[in-house]
Symmetry: C2
Subunit: 469 residues, 2 copies
């Protein structure tokens, strides 16, 4: 649905690029790290999402004629515009696999490219990865509590405009089963489902006729919305009538949907009425301002809900509207680079790096990732990034390198995976994480460490910078 | 940037449409109301935004060949798909002017069309209007407190994916002056601005050389980011040096930008240092997690900040990620329609309607809108929608009809206004609203009333529905 050109960026990327271009630094190679600082939703983990979209977009990203005309009007110079005309992203990308569990302050993805290319793609990279990672994480939390229930995305109408398109994709990665969003279903090959609105029932003079017409039109996947007038006095009795008529035609009513009121109470009462009519196969779907906490509570109350339709809180990531992902320079023009800050956790890590997931002898995740220089094949001793006396020997642990080359010379190296493959991978990775990291209240904090060599490199650069000021 | 086709919708719209089609109800005329129930941000008003985008998209909305192929695979029937192939929105839209101040529970926009057309556009209508209205409102709150300061949108990297494109447009309507978002600037004719990132300074061995190179490359609109190493010991002294060098070339440094630390303190100290160097014309820009409350506080502390760059909290509408706008059936097949609910404020208003803004003899807004039937030219007595003994005579007030026909037979009737025209209109309408409705804490509640005739119609339908159950 979306067509991105290279003007999907912040103006300052182009302002900087023109300076690099004019000063002959355009081919200067740089490494940037993508990472975030804070987990959303007070979650103990996040689900990395958006990578394949990003790679696909980068592989075809260009400035259009229109773009160049606009930039000319903005005062960019002729020779620079000529350069932009032929510009393509020709760099390398190293990344964690899409769907993996990720944690704050360590690189999830690294870009290695000419500094101009690396800067121009910064905005679109952050825009796509921050948002999809946010939503996949939100979805994953609902999947954690929903057990085997079906989770459907109903959010497009309340989404942040066309952001809803990507929200749907990320929801599937996080563990949702389907969506109401037709265009996302079509483009991302996601199961699409949809039934009826209150307006359908209202547009008839009576509910029963509305239900009958709908059942005739959709005998295969008929879901009746039962709360337009009165759920227990009108909606369920009419649904039971129609279900029986459908049985007479050899058909089965798939489900009833509750969209208001106390969902636990109405689900239980509806279930009783359906069962009493020997309609135990008719499922109950519920929607209305759901999120992971409401779903958890409903299931703890043993509300017999089989299908949850989640809208606003899923697709906008309520209450956290953004992941605070950043893109920081680690290396350029042959030298490691650092940004120092008053706030110690904002000090960046220099150099191209590798990240290792630490596992015990049984391959079980111990709750730590360690960051080393890229050429380090494993890390002997992992240091706390800032607290001086905290370190841990990793000699007897397995170490899985997480960053792999996924794009080279601007070409995607990996075969595109289906969303269900990515989602399955995500669920299997999440299953390796001990339960303490998954609880909603004060989850255990996943450890991030750095290698001795990286620590020395960083500390040396900090000292050098401090001496200059 | 965005290409919308008619599959930008929820599947249930199509499921319902197929039933209407098969039952010969496809040309049945319907009226739907768009309104929201709750103001975001504890605001006393909202700014209606998104209308022109919506109308433009509706006027060209079609199902593509791809769309129809996908729907075929989804099991939709052949004659229905044939019908969709030629479907265009041919209805009427009545709307409040884009940029006007709007309030909960009364129609902002009405769609009058065949029930199929009206349903299919529901999702895109809600998606675009809900989000842009949310963001224009957020932006307007910052404009209210920012006085004459320049407000710039820096949010694309943290936006909800391509939702950021529309966020930028809405921010301008709410009173922002420009954006960093190049593609939105290009498509919506918005002033675009951008300077440098920390990475630019880091990519040099020293800050002064970085500043010099940048100033040479951008003498006209040079803004130097001064907090990469140390704002007061390094950033400002280097900026002063470069400003003096620029003066020697007959150029002027435009601004310095602060992006971390205590913005009030650093702005004051920076101002002193700049003024001491006779650089009183150099402006101070500030960014870093700003919102209306932080801007208000900074200005109350008399922080000498001329330009505010706002990102995440603007473009995601933090802390409210969505406006709860709904689209409710009011009339179909020749009859008024109502949805009743346990929750009294969720009961809908039947019939095609008009909304009047009530003003005193001097044309000053008294803080009330009154809803009548569409053919009512004015309202004599306004009733509280649900509290029985509350009413108010409107005989001596002026009444301005707010809903006007903006689309007929699917064609846009009004000439497209520039964003700055819409923004100016918005600011003038907001200036008519008494200050009590604009304060951040417990703003005065704007009154919504209904006419005697509408009240009788609604109450009659409620009674009729209750009798049926």
């Amino acid at each position: 649905m979306n067509q991105f050109t290279a003007t999907y960026t912040d103006q300052y990327q182009l302002s900087m690029a023109q300076v690099y271009f004019k000063n002959g630094q355009k081919d200067q190679q740089a490494v940037f790290d993508y990472y975030f600082r804070k987990l959303p939703f007070k979650s103990g983990y996040a689900i990395f999402s958006g990578l394949e979209d990003l790679l696909e977009i980068l592989s075809t990203l260009r400035f259009s004629e229109d773009d160049l005309q606009f930039l000319k009007e903005q005062g960019f110079e002729k020779d620079f515009l000529e350069y932009l005309k032929n510009l393509q992203f020709k760099g390398k990308i190293y990344s964690v696999k899409e769907g993996d569990i990720v944690f704050p302050t360590r690189p999830i993805l690294q870009v290695e490219a000419s500094i101009i290319e690396a800067q121009i793609i910064e905005t679109i990279l952050l825009n796509l990865l921050n948002f999809q990672t946010l939503i996949a994480t939100k979805a994953s939390r609902m999947r954690l509590v929903a057990g085997d229930a079906t989770l459907l995305d109903f959010g497009l109408r309340r989404a942040q405009a066309s952001g809803g398109y990507f929200a749907t994709r990320a929801a599937i990665i996080g563990g949702f089963n389907g969506t109401s969003n037709v265009v996302a279903g079509k483009d991302f090959d996601i199961p699409v489902s949809g039934t009826m609105a209150h307006s359908f029932v209202q547009s008839y003079d009576d509910e029963l006729t509305a239900f009958r017409d709908f059942a005739e039109g959709h005998p295969e996947n008929c879901v009746l919305l039962v709360d337009t007038y009165n759920t227990l006095k009108s909606g369920i009795p009419n649904a039971v009538k129609v279900a029986k008529e459908m049985e007479g035609r050899g058909q089965k009513l798939m489900a009833v949907r509750l969209d208001s009121g106390d969902l636990s109470y109405f689900a239980k009462e509806s279930r009783k009425m359906l069962d009493a009519a020997e309609l135990d196969y008719v499922k109950i779907a519920a929607s209305n301002q759901l999120d992971e906490h409401v779903i958890k509570s409903l299931l703890e109350q043993q509300a017999p809900i089989d299908i949850f339709g989640v809208g606003t809180n899923l697709v906008t990531g309520d209450p956290d509207g953004a992941l605070d992902g950043v893109y920081k320079l680690a290396f350029s023009a042959g030298k490691p680079r650092i940004k120092i800050s008053e706030s110690i956790i904002k000090i960046t890590l220099p150099h191209k790096k590798q990240v290792f997931r630490i596992k015990d002898e049984n391959g079980k995740c111990i709750g730590a990732d360690a960051i080393g220089l890229y050429h380090e094949n494993s890390i002997e001793e992992m240091h706390h990034p800032f607290e001086p006396y905290k370190s841990m020997s990793l000699k007897h642990y397995e170490q899985e390198a997480l960053l792999e080359l996924v794009m080279d010379e601007g070409k995607v190296l990996q075969k595109k995976r289906s969303l269900s493959e990515i989602s399955e991978y995500s669920i299997s990775r999440l299953s390796e994480l001990p339960i303490e990291y998954k609880r909603f209240n004060n989850p255990h904090i996943y450890k991030i460490g750095i290698s001795e060599t990286l620590k020395q490199e960083r500390d040396g650069l900090i000292k050098m910078q401090k001496n200059k000021i």
